[in-house]
């Protein structure tokens, strides 16, 4: 009885539902965005005169600086990734790279030398390569190598360490070695279910696809970049600098300290050589670790990798890269510096 009542009531409602030809009026005003603009204007005119605390301002300067600095590189990297998706046929990569991962990894690593950018650009590019069928291990070797061994970064390193060209050689050797070792390790032990390869829209060619992919990647990677910027700026302001310099005297600890500092500071790889050079109390090997680890593992990069390849990937790949970075820098540093 009650069932029937329900059914009949539902039928009544059915009659009220408009026919399929009817479409709702186009009033899809983006309310959250409108609210955001309201907040911006209100903040600008009412709040701005009151937020003058020096600590907050310093934090905000560093946070905005990291974002502003990374933005052009991110746009460049995302555009390049969209070009790979929309205009380079998938068959190109199978011809350009050897089929066997063990061979493809070093070649992809060396190919990293041609992308003049910092680490923010290389993550979306590596994602685009994987989406186009490049072996993940090779794309990862490219991801690690390109921010550290491209010509712009090497020239910056030479300028920052005048009279010590061996630093450039050491940086190139150690970074390439870490990239290739990490790629091989992933090819041997990595599982495909750990890695979320970025998906692409179905119609993957032409300008429409280019715009779709670029906008999507920009939103996605940009959001995670902001996560990294927030963490880096906060740690930068919260941790007293004297803690760090206090550890300079202990040799093995100094390497680990500067490797960790590189992770926390999240400096662009085109600038990190100048910072390394200013860390005068530290031995050269520790500075090398700073230069090798920084472009491969830092807070904004971790956030970008989590966003692009998934959490399960990042929790395995980030520690692997960090450990390899510290070990290889120590060995190369002992041999060359």
């Amino acid at each position: 009885m009650s069932d029937r009542a329900l059914v009949s009531r539902a039928d009544e409602h059915d009659d009220l539902i408009p026919p399929p030809t009817w479409r709702p009026p186009k009033s899809r005003l983006p309310w959250p965005f409108v609210a955001l603009i309201g907040l911006l204007l209100a903040g600008r005119f009412w709040l701005a005169p009151y937020v003058q605390w020096p600590a907050l301002q310093t934090w905000a300067t560093i946070f905005v600086a990291i974002c502003v600095q990374a933005l052009p590189f991110l746009v460049f990297g995302v555009a390049l990734s969209a070009v790979i998706t929309a205009f380079v046929p998938a068959a190109f990569w199978t011809r350009a790279l050897p089929r066997h991962p063990a061979m493809a990894v070093p070649i992809a690593g060396v190919a990293g030398a041609v992308l003049p950018g910092c680490e923010c650009a290389s993550v979306p590019v590596a994602g685009g390569l994987m989406a186009r069928g490049v072996t993940p291990a090779a794309a990862l070797a490219f991801l690690l190598a390109s921010p550290a061994i491209n010509p712009v970064v090497l020239v910056a390193t030479a300028v920052a360490f005048p009279g010590r060209p061996v630093m450039v050689v050491a940086r190139f050797t150690a970074s390439l070695a870490v990239a290739v070792l990490a790629g091989w390790t992933w090819a041997r032990f990595g599982r495909s279910e750990w890695l979320r390869i970025p998906s692409r829209p179905a119609n993957t060619s032409g300008w429409a696809a280019f715009g779709e992919v670029m906008l999507h990647d920009l939103l996605h990677a940009g959001g995670f970049l902001v996560v990294g910027g927030l963490t880096a700026a906060t740690l930068n302001v919260v941790i007293p600098q004297s803690w760090i310099t206090g550890l300079a005297g202990v040799p093995w600890l100094s390497v680990l300290t500067l490797a960790l500092l590189a992770v926390i500071l999240s400096i662009c790889s085109e600038a990190d050589a100048f910072v390394a050079a200013s860390l005068t109390p530290f031995p050269m090997t520790a500075k090398l670790a700073f230069l090798v680890v920084g472009p491969m593992v830092d807070l904004k990069l971790i956030a970008l990798q989590v966003g692009t390849f998934g959490r399960r990937f990042a929790t395995r790949f980030v520690p692997l890269t960090f450990v390899l970075g510290v070990l290889v820098s120590t060995v190369v540093g002992q041999a060359l510096l």
């Binding site: 959250p32 300067t61 905005v64 933005l71 920052a160 005048p162 009279g163 959001g223």
Partner: protein, 237 residues
């Protein structure tokens, strides 16, 4: 986040990038002056990309694609975070790093890397305008090269303990996150308000030992003139 909002957010972020680079010089608070063309290009790119999306959505084109993509592009809600830097730029309007940052970095070694070329000798009978980096570099490396010469330094005022005060300047390699502080203690003049910009003229006080102890104290300047100036176009060195 729906497709229209995605376009609007990207336009907003691109617009903010243009606001600080193309329509003002605020960007020098955060990055090097030479970075401007890249910022402008990135800003234009984003505004165009966002505008195309917004126009397309308003015309109602691509509604078939939008159903498909909604499954694919599920949850870039992290993209809302892109509004945070925009919010920071408009509401907090972060200034260039000043006295607070210089005070924090005081424990860090202040000696800049040794210059490629040796310092050239200073003119004997006139005041030399000098960057803070060069002054600190000479004070650490070749303190005698400053003896008996008057120099003029430009920087902001930072206060220390017990009435001690400093003139400071941040040096930046790429962005404000990597800035390092140079500080010089000023003697023989009253302290202007903190974070105001000054030109201070004076001569280096050579330590009694002839050399500064490494990485612990700021070099000192005996000031004979302190002049208030406007913040320079590039607040960093």
């Amino acid at each position: 986040m729906n497709r229209l909002t995605q376009g609007l957010v990207i336009t907003l972020v691109g617009g903010a990038a243009l606001r600080i680079s193309l329509f003002s010089t605020t960007y020098t608070n955060y990055v090097k002056p030479g970075f401007r063309p890249y910022l402008v290009a990135a800003g234009i790119c984003m505004v165009v990309l966002g505008a195309i999306r917004v126009l397309g959505e308003w015309r109602g084109a691509g509604s078939a694609a939008s159903d498909h993509d909604r499954e694919h592009q599920h949850g870039p809600s992290v993209a809302w975070l892109l509004c945070l830097p925009v919010l920071a730029i408009f509401v907090i309007a972060p200034p260039a790093l000043g006295a607070y940052a210089a005070g924090r970095a005081a424990g860090r070694s202040v000696a800049p890397p040794a210059p490629v070329e040796p310092y050239f000798p200073l003119a004997a009978d006139k005041v030399t305008d000098m960057t803070m980096g060069e002054f600190v570099g000479r004070a650490w490396g070749e303190p005698t090269s400053l003896r008996g010469h008057r120099v003029r330094l430009t920087g902001f005022v930072a206060a220390g303990d017990k009435g001690v005060w400093y003139v400071g300047r941040m040096q930046m390699a790429c962005c404000a996150a990597d800035a390092i502080a140079f500080t010089v203690r000023v003697q023989g003049a009253a302290r202007p308000p903190v974070n105001t910009w000054i030109k201070v003229t004076g001569s280096f006080i050579l330590p009694k030992t002839g050399k500064l102890p490494k990485g612990t104290v700021a070099p000192e300047l005996a000031a004979d003139d302190v002049e208030s100036v406007a913040e320079p176009a590039d607040p960093y060195e």
